[in-house]
């Protein structure tokens, strides 16, 4: 009887309801891009209105054309690949060594004694100020670019790892030990998985930071890379090139952050809280 009632109510209402849902989804999808389209349109109109010189604000269409040309000539891919290579290599170093140092600090009293003041003083420092020192030591090539990124981005990873391991519930540790887990099993099967969400948050802070510092390092040291290309364009007063650089870097940043959020959701699918905290 109930099934019949259900079937009866479904048949007449099914189609409009579905259509309503599609319209609703389309509306929200539209709203999501609406303001972005509005912004780009305003940019284009302002640039063509003549209130700004071409140097101050090149039209969006010109910027797109420039990116298109860069893509065809291959410059875009070389620059993007180099920036990504530097940022991601440094990020991987930060991820590996940050977690190792963090783990060492929470397991070993001497490591904790040594690193704790360095982290607590070093974390809030603007370490980018050490960039000239790094240049002095290592020159202007990839080694020094990657080093300054590591110096900047490793602190959030270490701090997050330490806090995460401290926060692992004692009951979990006790029961695992009670069931005969040795310390290696305790680490790989209990501590690291339980600490994973917060470590992941630290990595999500470190990734955008890597990109920020990569761009600054490239701007200061020149050469290829998205930041270097922007600086070259700026020296030749080529503002279309500068704006193209911003758009390119924005896209790279957006893709990286979204990819990281996706990885988080995949890795922590077992965890209750699988949404990313860092982006709105």
């Amino acid at each position: 009887m109930a099934r019949v009632a259900q079937a009866m109510s479904e048949t007449p209402n099914g189609l409009p309801e579905k259509a309503a849902r599609v319209v609703y989804r389309l509306f929200w999808a539209f709203m999501r891009v609406f303001s972005i389209v509005l912004l780009l349109a305003t940019w284009e109109i302002l640039a063509r209105s003549g209130n700004f010189t071409h140097f101050q604000l090149p039209a969006f269409s010109e910027v797109v054309e420039r990116i298109w040309n860069d893509a065809w000539s291959g410059d875009l891919w070389i620059n993007t690949a180099l920036t990504l290579y530097r940022a991601l290599t440094a990020f991987l170093i930060c991820a590996v060594f940050g977690v190792i140092i963090g783990m060492a600090m929470s397991r070993n009293a001497i490591a904790n004694w040594f690193f704790d003041p360095i982290i607590s003083v070093g974390f809030p420092m603007p370490k980018i100020a050490f960039l000239p020192v790094v240049i002095l030591w290592l020159g202007v090539y990839d080694v020094s670019k990657i080093s300054i990124i590591v110096i900047d981005a490793i602190f959030p990873v270490i701090a997050a790892t330490v806090i995460a391991i401290q926060g692992v519930e004692r009951e979990l540790l006790w029961s695992a030990r009670n069931m005969g887990a040795n310390s290696r099993e305790l680490l790989t099967q209990i501590v690291l998985p339980a600490a994973a969400p917060q470590i992941m948050t630290g990595l999500q802070v470190a990734l955008p930071l890597s990109l920020i510092v990569a761009v600054v390092a490239e701007m200061l040291m020149g050469g290829y890379g998205l930041g270097g290309a922007m600086m070259t364009a700026s020296r030749f007063a080529n503002s279309t090139g500068v704006f193209a650089g911003i758009v390119e870097i924005a896209v790279v940043g957006y893709v990286l952050v979204k990819a990281m959020a996706l990885i988080r959701r995949r890795l922590l699918i077992w965890h209750q809280e699988t949404n990313d905290p860092s982006t709105a």
Binding site: S35, Q56, W113, W137, P208, M231
Partner: protein, 246 residues
């Protein structure tokens, strides 16, 4: 005493630095002895170089950060309070938040030149979004029970904004400001290193170019210390401000 043993590793690092330089384990151009750096720092203070460049840097950071907090917090709270604003602005915030803000350095120079204006604009743009997101998350999570009871006691929308939404946004908002504070220093120093005529970053660059590396180290350490001190001071103030929550 406990504080002393806690920070002992830093003292040891400083000693290792001095020894490594004095025994010429590393080249003294690359790493001048710490004592020389301190002497150079005192000279810089006496010359007034450090003070004059420092004040212009701090003015830029302060002005940019103040603007960012003011506009960012307002934006975040209004986004949480009034849905249409959220619908309009959320995609933009989502799009610009992952943008590495250092990419804006050349553009701010194109718009406002080499002086204070471009740095203030850069710091404002770079620091605004963390504040906005903090304020938004805080205001959105204001407890429904509080909202209901305020409404039942006859609070109108504006009153509610001021008495319920803003205070409950406070903790996360202040967290966002802390991120912004750190970012302000990063952006300040990097923009001054790349293009400037005065300021800490400019001083570091010009001293490095002249080869007076001990003075360069002195300025680098000063900037690093100021960033650290600002963060600690901020933590102290927020602890006071949020005392009512306990």
């Amino acid at each position: 005493m406990k504080q002393v043993t806690r920070y002992l590793p830093l003292v040891l690092l400083a000693l290792a630095w001095e020894l490594a330089a004095r025994l010429e384990l590393v080249s003294t151009t690359a790493l001048p002895p710490l004592s020389d750096v301190i002497r150079a720092w005192i000279d810089l203070i006496k010359d007034g170089d450090l003070i004059s460049n420092g004040t212009s840097s701090l003015y830029r950071a302060g002005a940019g950060l103040a603007l960012a907090i003011l506009v960012g917090a307002t934006l975040g709270i209004v986004m949480a309070w009034w849905k249409p604003v959220n619908v309009l602005l959320a995609p933009l915030v989502e799009m610009f938040y992952p943008l590495p803000k250092s990419a804006l350095i050349p553009v701010t120079v194109i718009w406002l030149g080499y002086g204070d204006g471009s740095k203030i604009l850069l710091i404002f743009l770079g620091c605004m979004l963390p504040v906005t997101i903090g304020a938004f998350n805080g205001a959105r999570s204001s407890e429904q029970a509080l909202v209901w009871s305020a409404r039942s006691m006859g609070a109108n929308r504006l009153r509610m904004l001021w008495d319920v939404v803003v205070p409950s946004a406070m903790p996360e908002l202040l967290n966002g400001v802390r991120t912004a504070l750190a970012l302000a220093f990063i952006l300040l120093v990097s923009s001054e290193l790349i293009v400037a005529q005065k300021g800490f970053g400019y001083l570091i660059g010009s001293l490095g170019a002249n080869g007076s590396y001990d003075a360069m180290y002195a300025v680098v350490l000063t900037v690093a210390f100021l960033g650290f001190a600002a963060d600690r001071l901020y933590l102290l103030i927020t602890k006071r401000t949020l005392a009512w929550r306990e």
